[in-house]
């Protein structure tokens, strides 16, 4: 399949801050991507450049094979729902939906109305008077009903309760199944979306840490616990990401290719072995990468646990 997005050596520097540092990857059409990373990792900057709302310092970006900047052919096929989206003060909810319908050629009005009902959005209310959660819902309605071949959701659920978030996930999956398209979901609630995401991109401090299939990752990271010596021995089979010491026992997160043989080995060493969640992997990888980075504000407050 042709790539929906290719990014080559993308760098973005604001005065003194490197928001993106030679990032390269590509997105295949009709898949759901999870763009993960901590606050300020560079996720929003990346999506702004991909949708031509921001400018790169250097590097190449193509969307559907073309430069996105001022390219109507590309932009009309892209929808970018961001948490910080502002609306003109004279618009009501139904005005925003009508505006989105004008701009997006693939707009599905029936779906939009259904979503407005499901999220209990008041169509007559001025957008400036919506609560944070309602504002997020409005973004989600626009993002899903636009049916854009490339849709970005940047923290789409700020202020949304658990029920509304589930409505979002359900609709996203249902609509994606019926109308496949490329979806990039940037989120902090990794556990909630880990079943949704097919491919993971992890950014930390402007660098791409991980570009892998979610399926592959799931078996790759395990948490092993038991006597320190046994854990030490097991940890040598992979890369240790994190360790907690409790007297003579240790609990370590290890990344590697763990086949059945390794599981047998763990059992023979008397170790407890469990698969780690995607969230745990992300947490371990991003706290780990903090340590060696120069000038990182990795205050020890993040964890008092012994790392390595």
């Amino acid at each position: 399949m042709s790539p929906a997005v290719t990014v080559t050596d993308l760098t973005k520097r604001y005065r003194g801050v490197t928001a993106l540092d030679r990032v390269s990857f590509s997105l295949t059409e009709n898949r759901i991507y999870g763009l993960l990373g901590r606050n300020g990792a560079g996720k929003t900057t990346l999506m702004q450049i991909l949708t031509a709302q921001g400018f790169a310092t250097s590097g190449e970006v193509t969307v559907f094979g073309q430069q996105p900047y001022e390219n109507e052919q590309v932009l009309s096929r892209v929808c970018f729902i961001k948490e910080s989206q502002t609306y003109p003060s004279n618009l009501r909810v139904h005005h925003v939906l009508r505006a989105a319908r004008l701009v997006h050629p693939g707009w599905d009005e029936k779906l939009a109305q259904q979503l407005v009902d499901d999220f209990r959005l008041p169509p007559q209310r001025n957008v400036r008077k919506l609560s944070r959660g309602m504002l997020s819902s409005l973004g989600i309605v626009v993002g899903l009903a636009s049916r854009a071949p490339l849709t970005f959701f940047d923290e789409p659920y700020l202020g949304l309760d658990a029920v509304a978030r589930q409505i979002f996930y359900d609709h996203l999956l249902a609509d994606y199944t019926e109308h496949p398209r490329t979806i990039v979901l940037s989120t902090h609630l990794i556990d909630e979306v880990s079943d949704l995401i097919e491919h993971v991109l992890l950014i930390d401090q402007g660098r791409l840490l991980l570009d892998a299939e979610a399926e592959t990752l799931r078996g790759q990271v395990v948490t092993v616990s038991g006597p320190v010596a046994a854990v030490d021995e097991f940890a040598r089979t992979g890369a240790e990401l994190h360790r907690v010491l409790l007297g003579a026992t240790a609990r370590a997160t290890v990344r590697g290719d763990f086949g059945p043989a390794v599981h047998d080995q763990a059992r023979s060493l008397g170790l407890g072995l469990e698969a780690s969640s995607l969230q745990e992997l992300v947490v371990r990888l991003t706290t780990n990468s903090n340590a060696p980075a120069p000038g990182a504000d990795s205050a020890g407050a993040a964890s008092k646990e012994a790392v390595r």
């Binding site: 709302q53 502002t86 003109p88 004279n90 009501r92 005005h95 505006a99 004008l102 997006h104």
Partner: protein, 231 residues
Amino acid sequence: MNRALTVARLQFVAWPSVVGWPWGILALSFLINLALFAAMQGDPNVQPTTGGLASIYVVMFIACINTITQDFPFALGLGVSRRSFYLGNVLQFAAQAIGYAAVLYLLAVVEEATDGWGIQLRFFGLPYLWVENPVLRFLGFALPFLLLGFIGIAIALVFKRWGANGMLTLSAAALVVIGGLATLVTWQGWWSAIGGWFADQSGAALLVGWPALLTLPLAAVSYLVIRRATP
């Protein structure tokens, strides 16, 4: 071009408020003037001429600032190019200027026919900026909309692209240029010559010619600025 038309339509999705504000404020201004001068009827010293017409131009000026600070981030967020946004925005604003000028022209005609709404009130027709030719008179209503609108667009774009520092730099530069010119003119004693120059200009030149000459470069510069502005 299609996308530009889409933007123009997009800016009218809430058309009652778009059209309602300028005309509502103008109607209010007109009614207050009407009541005021009706109450002063009989005083021979009163010449019922007002500047209330300026209110609609001020509202449109503010509306143009809002299109950049509010509509621009919204339209770009929906997936419109800067070029299409700019063209569409200019299109919708020019359409408003032409339509509103036509209505103001008609109201000025009615004002004359009714002898100033029965009380010699000059609200829509300005005696000291009189234009005889009907086409020029119509343009005399339309061009000030465009000039003020593009001044608003240009200022808002400076803010959008360069932020508060850009605004401060612009204000400082304006202060230096205007203050410097004023000093120069005072020092050289040119004020009366400048006053004379303005007095010599016809109403058409002040309402149509000069605004058109100033609007064009503003529109061109604004286009260059918006092409690198971020929402």
